[in-house]
Symmetry: none
Subunit: 228 residues, 4 copies
DNA sequence: CATGAATGAGGATTCATTCAT
DNA sequence: AATGAATGAATCCTCATTCAT
């Protein structure tokens, strides 16, 4: 979870608006589109919106540059599709967890761990969120489907908090949004700032041992933050 | 403090190699260079390395595009200068504080507050760090002067921790680098992800009330994290 | 009548070569072709030969882009078909008139009026003639059927002139081609140059009052031109 | 004179807005720009706005494609500059004539002849006006300087008409705009429709003998139109 | 120190057309 | 008779950079 974890996302989201198509067929077609999307995800993550080259994306694909425009209409359209795709891929951490069946502390622990694991294993996603922030979030704000999902996340979190408060284990003065911010910040930063933090403090955040240590540490920090 | 706070930045670093020229007039010269640097900082922060336009930078300056090349040799050189400049501007939080004269808890509180305030008031710096991370930190790793500074920071932090542990107020199993990471993450994320977090959780992180709340919250979280 | 009025156009000319196919169903087939032709007429008139987009034409049609190629083989083929179509639609003004049954002056008056009315009510035709002239008339010269028709027009005009000369009402030193030129020029220009003339002389040639005035004026001018 | 003859045009019109230039120097610079303009005039006249190729224009020039964008910003900008240029080149026929010193009939004769000669000798101009009309006059309407000039033309024409009416030689019920329309139409059409008219009536309007004949004929037609 | 002119190399995008079914 | 997918070849345009003065 970074800018919030992703909620149920059951419906497959059609990223690039397909224009001028009358019927929908699965199969080959879809895979060309998906191949482009996969390659573009990498390119945009690694080079940013203006740094990415349509030519470079096309070359790493079995299709041609022309197909990119066929499916996505423009470089920007492709970027939007990529953004929507990566956001929609985040299966809601809470929904994978049946948060309500766990004791509050355990629920929070699992939420943090899943968030941490997701961010660690999806550096492209982290980079794309960075890119989007550098670009003033001009596209993320248009992803309506995504935004809906995120409001559910807060509700789930709130119910966990409520139970924790009721049981006397959590403080009462922390809002769901606060907890999400703390969790997101701690997990996201490790990945998003791996290069600068690593260079300046001369350490390798990707080191497995370091990672394991930080995973526990962040769980600990969040629980200490919530503890009554 | 973000990717680590900035240490004592003693020598002002001259970014663009300045070849010895006929007349080395101070004043005018310096201000042209600095004007370019100021404008470029904004442009690179707002549009990223490849998104920034040399033309655009020149136009917003009283000087010409040619001068950019005169002072900085290339767009990349200008970017490096900007990066070095913003990093060097961070006067070490610890050095401003005389950390050693404060009680450990108070010292940490002040460090967090200063870090928070710095990040909040320097969104361009945050953006540039983001940009640098999107670009794999390829330039930050070359800023030797900066890196030295950052190692001092860790030492100062360590001494605070040591005193806290000695007084029985802090846990013993937290390293300086861990604390810096936690502080940096919590302060940096609020600013770096303001667009995506704001859009997805439908809240305005820039709101003064929210900011005040989070400032206290982060101090609190860090102290809870350290507390024995 | 513009570049000459159109004569009887007895045989309907099939523009796009229609290869004999399995089922030559009338009706549907024909209407697809005609729909394309109608849309293409507008597009070519409004945007010129190279400005028109095959995609745009297809989209405004109930059929697909592929059908355009099926019927017309190429964009150029479609343009030729459009050109032939609009030229063939001009039913000979003279043939609608039974010119020989009218007194010479009356005959000329009616010819001018019909030409004027045709041009005014067929701006697409005018535009297409313009387009064709911008393209050096490379296609019109191939429309053999059309060219034949036009030579008849001259004969009819000549007979009117002859009768007028015989009756002493017309001058003898004006050829049929001269009269056609004068009539065509005066009627065509109003429509073809409506935009530039209107903009530069700040008047609206489409205004009904202006139009009525010019209609009479042109009849008058032509008769004065012919008067013995 | 076509869409109206051109008036005094004393001030040199700067066609393509030169951007980002602070001082103005004559000489070499200007000639590059003018060379582009000259070549572009031909290309746009021969192929229309969308048919013209920036590459083709550049190739026929001693400069590069890049310079076209440097001077004119876009293909459209170049087209606008061309249009303005050709319109501004029309030295006012009336102003070359000292219309007021001639007897009314003689004045009209000379105006017609000069208009005729101008149109005959500037087929590119005629074509460009055609192109502009195909494009709905979207650019000509913005040429403010040109439009001003054209309003003067009408005044000069009106004064000639007034003198002719006063002397009893001209009818009183013809407006300046009417006469300009008649003259423009007759002279313009011969050139603008040379391809289609020639093809359909199987004659060569460019033939010198034909041209001489038509020149007299048009003068005659206009005078007959005006005669009291 | 300063500047307007110039540009090669590349970058996004479009378009008429064809293929597989 | 019909169509959605696919594409090579342009086509317009941009950008960092250098030159001449």
């Amino acid at each position: 979870m970074t800018t919030g974890s992703a909620a149920a996302a059951k419906g497959r989201s059609r990223a690039g608006k397909r224009v001028g198509r009358k019927s929908e067929r699965r199969g080959e077609t879809e895979s060309s589109r998906e191949e482009i999307l996969a390659v573009a995800t990498e390119e945009f993550a690694q080079r940013g919106l203006s740094g990415a080259r349509v030519d470079a994306i096309a070359e790493r694909t079995r299709t041609s540059k022309r197909m990119i425009y066929y499916y996505f209409e423009s470089k920007e359209g492709l970027y939007k599709a990529v953004l929507e795709h990566v956001y929609s891929q985040i299966r809601s951490i809470e929904s994978h967890l049946d948060v309500d069946s766990l004791a509050p502390i355990e629920a929070v622990r699992r939420i943090v761990e899943l968030t941490f694991d997701y961010d660690e294993s999806h550096p492209h996603f982290i980079s794309l969120v960075n890119v989007e922030n550098v670009n003033h979030g001009q596209f993320v704000s248009k992803l309506v489907a995504i935004r809906k999902r995120y409001s559910n996340i807060l509700q789930l979190m709130q119910s966990v908090l409520d139970r924790g408060v009721a049981s006397g284990q959590f403080r009462a003065d922390v809002s769901a949004i606060d907890v999400r911010l703390v969790i997101a910040a701690l997990c996201f930063f490790r990945v998003s700032n791996r290069y600068t933090f690593g260079a300046l403090f001369d350490c390798d955040l990707a080191d497995p041992q370091m990672r394991r240590h930080h995973r526990q540490m962040i769980v600990d920090a969040v629980l200490r933050f919530l503890r009554a």
